[in-house]
């Protein structure tokens, strides 16, 4: 195919196509951003909790039991440090539920010992649990795995759903382009037929449709990306205000932002391929 004057400019897809693609790209990018952010949150969480255990002593336990528990923990191979959490810190942990009026200070709260392992190890946790059970059965060892495991399952399902939303949005975008291409083919029927009769190959006829779809869908997906970026900035701002330890820090890395931009490019690429497939499929009815 030679220069741009080879084939006539098409009547065009009109304004509706970029608009529809923008909406779908927006939905896909929000879903993708959600999935990526969940990934980061999960990694943050895991980094926070992996290799840490908590020993819980009942509030009524005598003070020397704390020292015994600390000594037992520190004597366990694989334990790096063991330190009692100050009461103020325990109270702070409970603030979201009990409020800031000092109620936590008046309640018989358990004593918590934060245990850090040299490396995350189920074996060390098991040894420590066995030793605690033998020496002080009233102590409870929490290795966080049970509740963390539930969260991991939930987050993985949310990521799976987000990936499904992305795929559905891309598929819907391709469908919209295919329908619009059919309409454009009908409008350009005479031109297409004369090109065919003059000896144009199918790919030569498909090319202006592809170019038009790429431009229009590219415009739409960029608009979707811009809207999604604004929405994500807003969510980031709200999360920062929430001051949550779990959702602290940047939830989207530059690489994640690259994925979002790649999704916008993918929308344009899929639109181009959808237009091409539609035109080639339609041309097959011609001899």
């Amino acid at each position: 195919m030679t220069g741009p004057a080879t084939l006539p400019r098409l009547a065009g897809y009109g304004a509706a196509l970029p608009l529809l693609v923008a909406v779908m790209a927006f939905v896909a990018q929000l879903a993708l951003a959600g999935g990526l952010a969940l990934n980061t949150a999960l990694a943050n969480w895991h980094a926070e909790l992996a290799g840490r255990l908590t020993i819980e002593l009942p509030a009524a336990a005598p003070g020397e039991r704390l020292e015994e528990a600390l000594a037992l923990a520190r004597a366990t191979p694989g334990v790096r440090t063991a330190a009692a959490l100050p009461k103020a810190e325990v109270s702070k942990l409970l603030e979201p539920w009990l409020g800031k009026r000092g109620l936590a200070d008046r309640l018989p709260l358990p004593t918590l010992i934060d245990v850090a392992l040299d490396t995350p190890s189920a074996e060390v946790a098991k040894t420590l649990a066995t030793r605690l059970a033998g020496a002080m059965p009233e102590a409870v060892l929490d290795d966080h795995r049970l509740w963390f495991g539930h969260w991991v399952v939930l987050l993985h399902w949310l990521q799976f759903i987000a990936a499904g939303v992305v795929l559905l949005a891309v598929a819907a975008g391709a469908l919209v382009v295919a329908i619009a291409t059919r309409a454009l083919l009908a409008a350009e029927r005479g031109t297409v037929e004369i090109l065919h009769l003059l000896g144009a190959r199918d790919w030569q006829i498909a090319r202006p449709f592809q170019r038009e779809a790429l431009q229009r869908a590219g415009l739409g997906s960029l608009a979707g990306l811009a809207l999604a970026s604004l929405a994500l900035l807003l969510v980031g701002h709200l999360l920062a205000r929430a001051d949550s330890p779990i959702l602290a820090g940047r939830l989207l890395s530059w690489r994640d932002c690259g994925w979002l931009a790649a999704t916008a490019a993918a929308f344009a690429g899929v639109a181009m391929l959808a237009a091409r497939a539609t035109v080639l499929g339609d041309l097959r009815r011609l001899p």
Partner: protein, 223 residues
């Protein structure tokens, strides 16, 4: 060069619009395709410019048996055929120059040579001052010359014209036929569908006569 053998054509489930068509077009021949309206002239032309596949029989064009040829082989065959459609079928979004250049560009000819060849051809058919004009502002005769230029720009081996003199007065029709004869001198086989018997008398070339959707012996033309 082109051989039809027992070719039949029907559209969908309808009756046959062409029956048992057998003929040969030799390279460099000049023939009229004639017959009353509805006899099947346009359908036969559609088979010749590959807008239609026959429902039966065999067609061999330029050594390729169309029934056995894959669809992807058709563009190369079409590029050896020039067609002047009855309604010209010029593309309105393109200038006269770009309309005529289209077959060359589709064939991948270099742009500088294309522009030079097309400009020269358009001057030859009297459209040298209309290179950038859109087809809609041309007169009927100019549109026809543009369509002829597009049909011959690739030096086709076969030139087909569907009722090219239909809307012309006698003088213009004669001029047009002389133009086709000039093009024929370049070596192309020419087949012109027409029912203008007066013109055929003035240009006594061989005739393919269609009647009731079949080829019949061409009757003698009245003196």
């Amino acid at each position: 060069m082109i051989r039809f053998h027992n070719v039949g054509l029907r559209y969908g489930q309808g009756p046959e619009v062409l029956r048992d068509i057998t003929f040969t077009l030799e390279p460099g021949s000049f023939q009229f395709l004639t017959g009353p309206s509805g006899a099947g002239k346009t359908s036969l032309l559609r088979l010749l410019y590959l807008a239609q596949r026959p429902t039966r029989g065999s067609i061999v064009m330029f050594g390729t048996e169309l029934n056995k040829a894959p669809r992807r082989a058709m563009p190369d065959i079409r590029r050896r055929i020039g067609v002047v459609f009855q309604d010209f079928r010029l593309i309105e979004q393109l200038s006269v120059l770009d309309n005529v250049a289209l077959p060359l560009r589709l064939a991948g000819q270099r742009e500088e040579r294309t522009t030079r060849d097309v400009t020269e051809l358009l001057r030859w058919v009297g459209l040298g001052d209309k290179l950038q004009a859109r087809p809609s502002i041309l007169s009927g005769g100019e549109q026809q010359r543009c369509a002829i230029a597009r049909a011959v720009v690739t030096n086709p081996a076969l030139l087909l014209a569907d009722e090219p003199t239909g809307n012309l007065d006698d003088a213009a029709a004669v001029r047009l036929l002389r133009l086709f004869e000039e093009l024929h001198k370049g070596g192309a086989a020419v087949l012109i569908a027409s029912h203008n018997t007066g013109l055929m008398q003035r240009f006594p070339h061989r005739r393919l006569q269609l009647s009731d959707n079949a080829l019949v012996a061409a009757p003698a033309l009245a003196a």
